[in-house]
Symmetry: C6
Subunit: 267 residues, 6 copies
C-alpha cells in the first residue's frame, strides 16, 4: 500500500476566496460528487484544489494531462523486472486505493481513452477496473475526482463528451475582483498597494483586449512576476514589458497599446 502521507499538503496554501466556492466544494465533497473546475488561464484553480485538499485534510494527487497520455499512464502498467513483470499502480489507481483527491489538470488535453477510464469512478459504482491486471478496484470512501477544464480551448476535436461532462458538478472561476487581485499581489510579491493597484490596472486594459487581438488576458501569475521584478529594483517599464507584454503577444499593434498603457499608468 502506498504511503498516503507523501501526498498530504503540509502547509496551508495561500488562497483568497472570491465567492462561496469553499463552502460549495465542501458540500460536493461530503456527497463525494466529482468536481469540474473551469477558469481562464492562470486564475489559480490549481491553488484552489490544493487549498481544499489541505482544508479537508485529504492527500492530493495531481496529474498534468497531455495529448500523449494513455489510459495506462493513469491506471498503471506492468514493469519488466529481473523476476518477470511487476504491476505498478498509476496515479489514478493510487488515489482510488488510498482515498486521495485525484486532480486531473487540463483533462481536455488527454486522449479520449483516459476520459473513459474515469467513468466507472464517477457514478454509483465508484470502481476502477484494471483490465490488464484483471482486478476491480473499489474506490476508498475518501476518494474524490476533480478535473479542470478550460472552456476557451473547446473545439470540435477537443471537447469533453456530454457523457463525461454530466458526471461532474462544476465551478466557474474568473479573474479576481480588482481589490482582491491587488491584495494577492501585495501578499505574494511583497509590494505596496499603490504598485499593486497599478499592475491590476494594466491587467484590466489587457483583459479588455481579449478577443480583439489577444487570445487571453494577462493572468494574475504574470502580475506577480512583474511585481517581483519591480520589488527587485527593475524599472516599471522594463518589468512590465518583460513580464506582461513580451510573453503574451508578438503583434506590433497590441504591443504598442499595452506599452502606452504601461507608460500612462507608471509614467
Amino acid at each position: 500500500m502506498t504511503d498516503a502521507s507523501q501526498y498530504t499538503i503540509q502547509h496551508e496554501p495561500f488562497y483568497q476566496a472570491t465567492g462561496r466556492e469553499v463552502e460549495l466544494y465542501q458540500a460536493a465533497y461530503r456527497s463525494r460528487l466529482p468536481v469540474m473546475v473551469k477558469d481562464p488561464t492562470g486564475c489559480g484553480k490549481s491553488r484552489f484544489v490544493e487549498h481544499m485538499a489541505w482544508k479537508l485534510g485529504k492527500p492530493l494527487i495531481t496529474v498534468a494531462c497531455n495529448e500523449d497520455m494513455t489510459a495506462s499512464d493513469l491506471v498503471g502498467r506492468y514493469l519488466l523486472e529481473a523476476n518477470g513483470t511487476r504491476w505498478l499502480d498509476g496515479p489514478l489507481t493510487t488515489a482510488a486505493r488510498i482515498g486521495a483527491i485525484c486532480y486531473l489538470d487540463e483533462i481536455v488535453e488527454a486522449r479520449q481513452d483516459t476520459t473513459v477510464v474515469i467513468h466507472p469512478l464517477t457514478d454509483h459504482r465508484r470502481t476502477l477496473p484494471l483490465d490488464k491486471k484483471g482486478e476491480l478496484v473499489n474506490a476508498h470512501p475518501d476518494f474524490q475526482l476533480v478535473i479542470s477544464y478550460n472552456p476557451g480551448y473547446q473545439s470540435l476535436m477537443k471537447d469533453l463528451k456530454q457523457s463525461t461532462k454530466q458526471r461532474f458538478v462544476a465551478f466557474d472561476f474568473d479573474y479576481p475582483a480588482a481589490d482582491v487581485e491587488s491584495t494577492i499581489l501585495q501578499q505574494e510579491a511583497n509590494v505596496d498597494a499603490a504598485m499593486a493597484d497599478k499592475l491590476v490596472k494594466i491587467a484590466h486594459t489587457a483583459r479588455n483586449l481579449k478577443g480583439h487581438g489577444l487570445d487571453e488576458g494577462i493572468s494574475t501569475r504574470l502580475l506577480v512576476y512583474a511585481a517581483n521584478l519591480m520589488r527587485d529594483g527593475i524599472a516599471a517599464g522594463d518589468a512590465c514589458r518583460m513580464a506582461l507584454v513580451s510573453p503574451i503577444t508578438d503583434d506590433a499593434d497590441i504591443r504598442s497599446t499595452l506599452n502606452h498603457a504601461i507608460d500612462a499608468i507608471f509614467g
Copy 2:
C-alpha cells in the same frame, strides 16, 4: 479458470423499469441473442444491464470501450515473465469461458478491429478465435454479449457497420416519465416529492433545448447530484447552477435561460 463469483452482482441494483424491457431482455437471454442497448446520456443503461445480470444470476464483466482499445485488450495477450511469456485472457475471453454477460460500454468508441472480434461470438458459431494463441474458444452456454450504443454520437467516422448491427436485438431507452423520474430522485437522494418534482421540471426545460443550443439534455444523474446538494443544505440556486448548468454548457444565452427557469421554479 477464473473464479466467476468475483463478477457476480451481490446486491440487487435499484432499477425502475419504464416499460416491458425486463421481460423482453429475459426472452433475448433465453435465446442467447446478443443485445444492443441505446440511450441518450445518463438514462441508466449501465444500471439496467447490472440489474438484469443480477436478476438472471449471471456474472457480469463490463468493459468501458475507448478509441485506443485494441482487440488484444478484449481478447488477451502474452505477458513477459521470468520463465518466458504467459497468456492472459482479456475480459471478453474470460466472459466467454465462464459464461458471464459481457457488457461492452460505448462500443462505437472502440477501434473497428475490436468490433470485428465479436462477430464469431454473435452468430451460430459462438466461438472466439485467439489467433495469437492458436486456440478457438467455444463460448460457455450461459455467455451473452451486450453492447451499448449512443445513436447521438453517430458520425461517418464512428458508426457501427451494418454487418455488426445486424448481429443484435436492440433496446431503445429514453428519459423516464416525470413521475418515474421523481420517484428515482426521492429514492436515490432522499429528498421529498416537492423538491424532486421541481428538479424534474428544470430537466424538462433543458431537454426541450436539446438541438436548440444544447447537445444533450440534463441527465437523471445530474438531478440526483442537485438533490444531494440541496438535501445537504445548499441553496437551490447554488445547487442547480453547480449541478445542472455549469457542467453542461458555457453558452451565455443557454445559461441565462436555464437560470431563469431555476429562479422561476424555486424562486
Copy 3:
C-alpha cells in the same frame, strides 16, 4: 506440425443452396483456384464456406480481417520465451502447411500489406515467403484461399486492387428467394410456415428501402432472431421492433414505415 483435425468441421452445417454455387465451388477447388465470395450483409457466406469445407472434408481456418491486422498476424511472428525467441506460425501459414482452406473474412478491412502477402499463394508459385524467418513455405496440395468481399463497402480508400482481384474467381450471393428464406426460418427457429412467410414479407419491405434511407436490408439472421423471440412467446410487434427495426436504423421516418409494415402484416 499443427494438428489439422482441430480445424475439421465435425457436423454438417445447415446450408440451403440457392443456385449452382456448390457444384461451381467444387470445380474451383479441383483446380485449386482462389475464391472470392461477395454478398450483402448476413446472407450466409460464412456458412457457405463452412459447408463447402465440410463437403470437401478439408480443415477450415477462418480469420476475421480488421484494419489493425498486420501481415504478421496472418503469417506469424517471433515470441519471446525463456530460452530466446520462438517462431509462431500465423493462421495463413498454418493453413498453407496443413492443406486447409483459409478463409479471410472481410478482406477489404485489412491493411494492404495483408493483401500483398497472399499474392504468391494465389499464382503458379503457391508459396508463402516468411521474410522474417528466412523460410519459403510451399503450400500443401490441398491448400486453398477463400476471401469474402462486400462490394457495398467499396470506397476509394478501401477497395481491393485489381492486381489482387484478378487472382480470384468470384461468387455473387444475394438474399435467398422468398420460399427458400421461409424454409430457412422454419428450420432454424422452429416456427410454422405462416409466421415465417410474414417475417419474409417484412424483410422484403425493408430491402426495398435500401438506398432510400436504409444502408442495408434486413438480413436473414435478424429474421431468425425475430422468429426465435416469437416462438418464445414474445408478441409479434415487440419481437419485430426489437429484432428488425431498432438494430438497423435510428431514422424516425424509416422506423415509422417499418412499424406500419409490421402492424399491417401481423395486425
Copy 4:
C-alpha cells in the same frame, strides 16, 4: 553465409517471349544495370524475372513490397535471443551477399525509406550500409537489383522519385498478341485452340473497356482460370462469369456488356 542454392530456380519456368526482352535483359545483366519491369496487371512480369534468373543460372530472391514494409524488412534487424541480440540479414542483404538477383515486386507500394536504401546498391558504389549493425556490405559481383513498377498506380502520393527512377533501365510489358496469348492458354490450361481463341476474344472486348468503366483489362491469368474450369466440364457461361466478370467489376452495365460478349462468342 546463407546457402544460395535454396534460391536457385530448379526447373525452367514456362515463358513465351513477346519481343527482344530476353536478349536485352541479358545485356543489362552483363553490365549489372539495375532493371525496372513495367506492366499492367497480370501480364507475367514475375514469370519473366523467374525465367531470366533460371536462364542466367543465378539465385532469385523475391520480395512482395507493401506499404507497411520498412527498410529493416529489406536490410535486416536484430533478433532478441537467449544470449542477447543476434543480427538477421534481410532479403536484400542476403541477395547482395550471395550474388542473387533481388526482385522487389510492386516497389511503389513500399514506404519511401525502402526505396532510399537501394540507392547505394544502384550506382558505382554497389554497397549496402547496414547502419544499425555498423557494417558496409559490398555487393557480390553477380548481384543485380530488379524492381517492378505499375505505372497505372502512379499518383502524387505513390510514385517513385526521379532520383530513384534514374537508377534503372526499364522494360515495358503489355498483354501478349492474340496468337501468343492463345498459345499460352493452350499450354497452361490444356484446352484446344478454338476454346483458347474465344477466351482471348472476350479478353479483347474487356480490355477495350479499360478507362470506360473498367480500371484494368482482364489478365491472362484470369483467362487461364476460365479455361481450367471449362476443361473441368463447367459450362462456358458459368466459367466466364465466375472467372472473367465477377472478380473484376460490380458495375451492372459493364457486367451486362461482358455477359453479352460471352453469350455472343460462346453461344
Copy 5:
C-alpha cells in the same frame, strides 16, 4: 546524484550585449522566474544563455527540442538491464535535481506533452512529478527553466498555448546594430573593420528583403562564415555567394539582387 560540474561552462563565452538584457536576466534569475528567449534565426540566443549560465556560475543543460521528442525524453525512463529495469533521469529531471539552468531550445518544435510537463516546474510548486516512477521531485533552489521561441514559426498547429506562455518572462532579441555586428565579425573571424563593415552592409540588404521573397534575413553566423572564407584567401564574390546566397534561397530573382549587392559593395 549526477555530477553537476560536467555541465559547468568552463570559459567565458564571447557575448556582445545589445541592451540591458544581462541585467534583466540577472533579476529574473534572482526571483527564479522562468525565462523565454525570442529571436529571429541566428542572432545568438544560445550564446546569450550560455553567457548567463557562465556569469551566474550555474551548470547549463541544453535540450534541442524536436517534434518526435516525448515527455519521457525530458523526464526520464526505465532502462532494461540484466537485473531488471533501472530508472534513468532525463535532462530536465537532472537539471531540477542538481540546480542547473535547463535550456529547452526551440520549444515549439516539441510535442505538446513536453510543454505540459514543465508546468509544475514553472509555478509556485516548482515540482516535477515522475508519474512513471511514482516520485515527486522538488526542484533545487538554483534550478531555472529557459525556453527559446521563434515567433516566426508560429502557426495554428505549432504555437505555445497561452497557459504555457503565461508562465514566463520574455526577452526579445534582434539583429545587432551595425557597429556591434561589425565588431562581432572582427572578433570572431579575425577580419579588419573594412571587410566586416562591407559584409554587414550585404546583410542589411538581405534583411530588407525579408517578407519580399526571403523568409529570413542573413544571420550573423553566415556573415562569420563569409568572413572566415575571405580571411582564408577566397575571393569576396565566391565567399559571399557560397555563404550568404546559396544557402538561403533558390529564387533566381532574389539571388540576382543579392549578387548585384555583393558586386557593388565589394566590386
Copy 6:
C-alpha cells in the same frame, strides 16, 4: 573506438571538376564550415563528396536519409544484450568521434528531429548531446558535416528550416557542359567520342523538356547506362529507349518526342 580506416576511401574516385568547387570546398573544410551540396538528380554530388574525402585524406561516413529515419538512427541507441543494454553509436556520433566527414544524403527526406540533432554540431559548440546516454560528445577537430539538398523537391511540407539552412555554406551543381559530359561518358563507359556526343545531344533534348511534361532531365548516369549497352552490342534505338526513355516517363507524347530525337540523332 571505431576503426576509422574502414571509412577511408582507398582509390581516387573519378571526378571531373566543372568549376572552382574543389578549391572552395577545401577552404570550407579548413574552417570546418558545414557544407550543403545542391544539385538536380544524378549530377554526381555523391561522387564529389567522395572525391573530396579522398583528396583530404579523411574517412567518409554516408547516410542515405529517409522519412522514417529517426534521430536515434543518426545518434545511436541502446541494444538489449544478454548482460543488459549496450549503447551503439549511430553513424553521426561515430563520425564526430573519429573525425570523419559525415555526409547526410537527401537530408530533406528525413524527419525534422534528425535535422535538429545536427544543430549543436554546426555552430561554435561543435558538440553532439546524447540525451539518452547522458553524454556530451565534443566533435573531433577533423569532423565536418556535409548535407545534400535537392531544391527541386522543396515543398511546404518538406523543406529545411532557415534555422537549419543558415548553418551551412552551399555549392550549386548542374549538369556538366557538353564537352565535359562527353568526356565522362568516354571514360566511364569506354565508348568513342562520336557515340558520346550523340548521347549528350539526346540528353540536351530531354533536359529542355523539363517543366514541359518532364519532371527532371536525363541524368549523366542514364547516359552511362545507354553507352554501356551500346558498347555491349545493343542497337542504339533499343539501348536509348531502355535507358533514356522508359525509366523516366510513361507519357505517350513525351516518349514520342524522345523517340524522334533518338531516331534523328542515331538514324
